[in-house]
Amino acid sequence: MSVNINIRNAVKRYGKNTVIENLTLSICGGEFFTLLGPSGCGKTTLLRMIAGFNSIEGGDFFFNDTRINDLNPAKRNIGMVFQNYAIFPHMNVRKNVEFGLKNRPFDRKLIHSQADKFLKLMQIDQLADRMPAQLSGGQQQRVALARALCIEPDVLLMDEPLSNLDAKLRVEMRTVIKEIQNSVGITTVYVTHDQEEAMAVSDRIAVMNGGVIQHVGTPKNIYQRPANTFVATFIGRSNMLEGDMTVENGKAVVSLPTGYKAVFDTVAPENLKAQPVTLCARPEELIVETGEGEGLKAVIDSSVFLGLNTHYFVHLLSGERAEIIQESSIDSIIKPGTQVRLRLNTEKANLFTKDGSRNLLTGVDNDLDKEAV
């Protein structure tokens, strides 16, 4: 019974300023879907269009087969969790949770037990008589979630719900949110600018920038095979290097700074042609080696020991700077000023067109491309 959301050619304008131009997206029933992007990318705007708080200047929004463009927010059967929770400060926890039920044709006699069910689910049943001012941030968050779920909505919308919590609580609450979503099985659209949070909770993520969706995919795919350099740099860290691709014996050979040549087996057949490329290597995809051999020649600038990992900051002999993460070893840390070789993990690293707009490798799974069909 979970509802899928279909957005076709959505347009959002504020006056003459177009924020979202022609956005198309499908969200599957029961899925935990995250809109991720830097602030001002239009993710909250899109969420509020789904909720009905922003006007829709063009396109169609469907819940299953029902077009909801002109449906009153109150009639969309949406549960929403707001950034600052929007808990009514003048009502106690129970009244807050029951508020939505009282505003719909719901058997009065069942309101109490329905509220109890969700108070228990969120483990705040012992706080039912408290006023919001007496609750901690995490507890308020639980109330907001209980209140949103209590009306058994078709869709749950969450607008940066964890951004007001401290770091530790944020990690705890995102687990809670994910577990609850799993057990209730409700279609959920979640907005955040925190990529780690997005990875932790989502079934699928849409990375947005400038009102345009860049990549829709699983957290794993978005991290490992980002559709373009924006996604590569926004999700996790990336070292970007300029290079030139040539084809030798049917294999892509990329010439990198300091004379290093790396062979790629992962380039998609249709992209196998000589062209300038941008190499994107995550810090863990560069391996530091000392002594003679192949690799990017670099000099260690500084290092940070973080227990599990050690971060090295280096500059290549050709001038570019790079960051490397290595699992900490029992030996001593390589001293600043040491010349090293950086070998590339060509299986993991990504190659883009020179302008960074397209990934050249196989295995890029961007659901956005399927929408166009």
Binding site: N72, F99, N103
Partner: protein, 548 residues
């Protein structure tokens, strides 16, 4: 650890001494006069007389009834007005705001006077209806008149307060309720009004206190409907049969009543102890359709009605007039007469009293706010509590208390400018202290600590860091204090004489002598003076955060 001596301790004691002399001692004087008879014996006969004689006891009841009616009507008028203003983009919103401020800050009795000129026995509208249609309009005198004049004057207070409350409501609360199926009128009552309850109570108290103590309006328009401030005045300064002891007794009763209302309101407010953290302010919508038209009609109609008296007075002041009869044609004859009737002295006095009182009020407010917030000691809390006393004391009672206390040697101040200034300072100080205290509480102490750690001394820190940071909050309070001082009537009417006459008193004197042209000239000058002060202030601050 021995506490180090510091200059603030001295200031604490200076304030305690000042308050004892100018506040506690006069209050004690009133209390004493109410229970000690002419032979120096203790007696409660004055109170017995008040409660056993319906002629007198009805005044308190009348005051109560009309004031509660006024409070209710101001809420009914002001809350929708504020709602439309805060939730919709009304064209000319700024204009509505400014004019409504002008309405509620006008001199207290000018509205009543102007309505009499419009709707009274010989008022233009009354006469017009009688001559043209042969319709006899109902009497404006009495309960209905007081209600109308005060409601039209005080609803902007509710508006300004509610506007502040609505602005502090987080938009996501509105959206959350829409999300859960609660919109329109239902949302207005179950969410918006509930969230604004503390402010509604605060505004109600303010209106109640102002209306209850209002002396000018019932004096002019009340006639047979006798309220207690007028009764106190009559018993104290009336033309026949004054009884100072009895006036003192009524004063004590009045203070008790206002104090009760004050504490009742505090008690009620405690029930609504919550705060809103407002990240996203309300987004104003465009008014649309029939509802939108009605909104405009309501807002502009109400403002026009409330502002009409002031405009009419200014208009009348330019009409030819002979005594109490306005004649066709326009001239400056009224102003010429005003110049002969102490106009210059009135303006001088008004300005001098205003500037001196305001300077003292600001100085005291800054120092007391600092003592209360940064040096929270029992003695300083005593100062804080004492400074709020005048809040529950109607102006005429402060006037009488000062006469009793300083009418004879060794401190014979009655009739001097000093006593006028003392009365004004006492009357307005509580408001400015409140806003100064609130401002200082919102300033983190770390800024001052930073200054101290950077080597500035305590005094230097206070003067160059604390005071400038407080300036904004104090200025908004100070301008309104200035206007209130300039238009002060109720205490001044008891304390003034020919030498210390002010614009308000000149106006009142002219009205009571039936000199309508002259009265209009004075009233017009007063109206323009307050309007200019307020508009200047609003233009400079560009802010809507007015603390009344």
């Amino acid at each position: 650890m021995k506490r180090k001596f510091e200059v603030w301790s001295v200031i604490t004691w200076i304030f305690l001494a000042l308050f004892a002399l100018f506040l506690v001692y006069p209050m004690y004087g009133i209390l004493k006069q109410s229970v000690i008879n002419k032979d120096g014996q203790f007696t409660l006969e004055q109170f017995a007389k008040f409660f056993s004689t319906p002629y007198y006891s009805s005044t308190i009841q009348n005051s109560f009834v009309v004031t509660i009616a006024v409070t209710a009507v101001t809420l009914l008028l002001g809350i929708p007005f504020a709602y439309f203003y805060s939730f919709y983009q009304l064209k000319g919103g700024k204009f509505l705001f400014v004019v409504s401020i002008l309405c509620c800050m006008s001199a207290p009795f000018i509205g009543a006077y102007s309505w009499i000129m419009l709707l009274g026995r010989n008022g233009v509208i009354t006469v017009f209806f009688k001559d043209v249609f042969g319709i006899k309009l109902g009497s404006i005198y009495g309960f209905g008149g007081i209600l109308m004049v005060q409601a039209l004057k005080f609803f902007p207070l509710v508006f300004v307060y509610m506007n502040g409350a609505f602005k502090s409501i987080d938009n996501s609360l509105i959206e959350a309720s829409a999300n859960m199926g609660c919109t329109g009128v239902k949302r207005f009552f179950s969410v918006i009004m509930q969230l604004s309850m503390p402010t509604i109570l605060a505004a109600s108290l303010l209106v109640f206190m102002r209306a209850f103590a209002d002396f000018g309006t019932p004096l002019l328009i009340g006639e047979g409907y006798r309220t207690f401030p007028v009764e106190i005045y009559n018993q104290y300064l009336g033309e026949n049969g004054t009884d100072h002891n009895f006036a003192a007794a009524i004063s004590v009763i009045a203070i008790v009543v206002t104090a009760l209302v004050f504490f009742l309101q505090k008690w009620a407010t405690k029930k609504y102890n919550f705060s809103i953290n407002c990240l996203n302010p309300i987004q104003k919508r465009k008014p649309q359709g029939v509802g939108g038209v009605l909104m405009y009609v309501y807002c502009y109609g109400l403002i026009a009605l409330a502002f009409l008296p002031q405009l009419y007075i200014v208009y009348l002041s330019f009409r030819n007039c002979d005594g109490a009869v306005f004649k066709p044609g326009f001239s400056l004859v009224n102003y010429e007469k005003a110049v002969k009737k102490l106009l210059v002295r009135s303006i001088d006095n008004t300005m001098i009293f205003g500037v001196v009182s305001l300077a003292l009020i600001i100085l005291f407010a800054i120092l007391i706010a600092y003592l209360v917030v940064r040096r929270p000691r029992p003695l300083n809390h005593t100062i804080d509590t004492l400074s709020m006393l005048p809040y529950i004391m109607p102006g005429s009672i402060i006037g009488i208390a000062l006469v009793i206390a300083f009418g004879k040697k060794p401190l014979a101040l009655t009739g001097t400018a000093a006593v006028m200034i003392i009365a004004l300072v006492i009357r307005r100080m509580p408001y400015t202290i409140r806003s100064a205290t609130a401002t200082l509480q919102s300033i983190p102490i770390s800024t001052e600590e930073a200054s101290l750690s950077l080597g500035a001394g305590k005094l230097k820190t206070f003067l160059t860091v604390t005071t400038p940071m407080m300036a904004n909050g104090i200025m908004s309070g100070a301008v309104l204090s200035w206007v209130a001082i300039v238009t002060e009537l109720s205490s001044a009417i008891i304390l003034y004489n020919n030498k210390t006459i002010t614009l308000t008193m000149s106006t009142y004197a002219a009205i009571s002598r039936g000199n309508d042209g002259l009265a209009c000239a004075f009233a017009a000058i007063l109206t323009v003076l307050t309007a200019v002060s307020l508009i200047l202030y609003l233009a400079v601050t560009k802010s809507e955060d007015i603390k009344l």
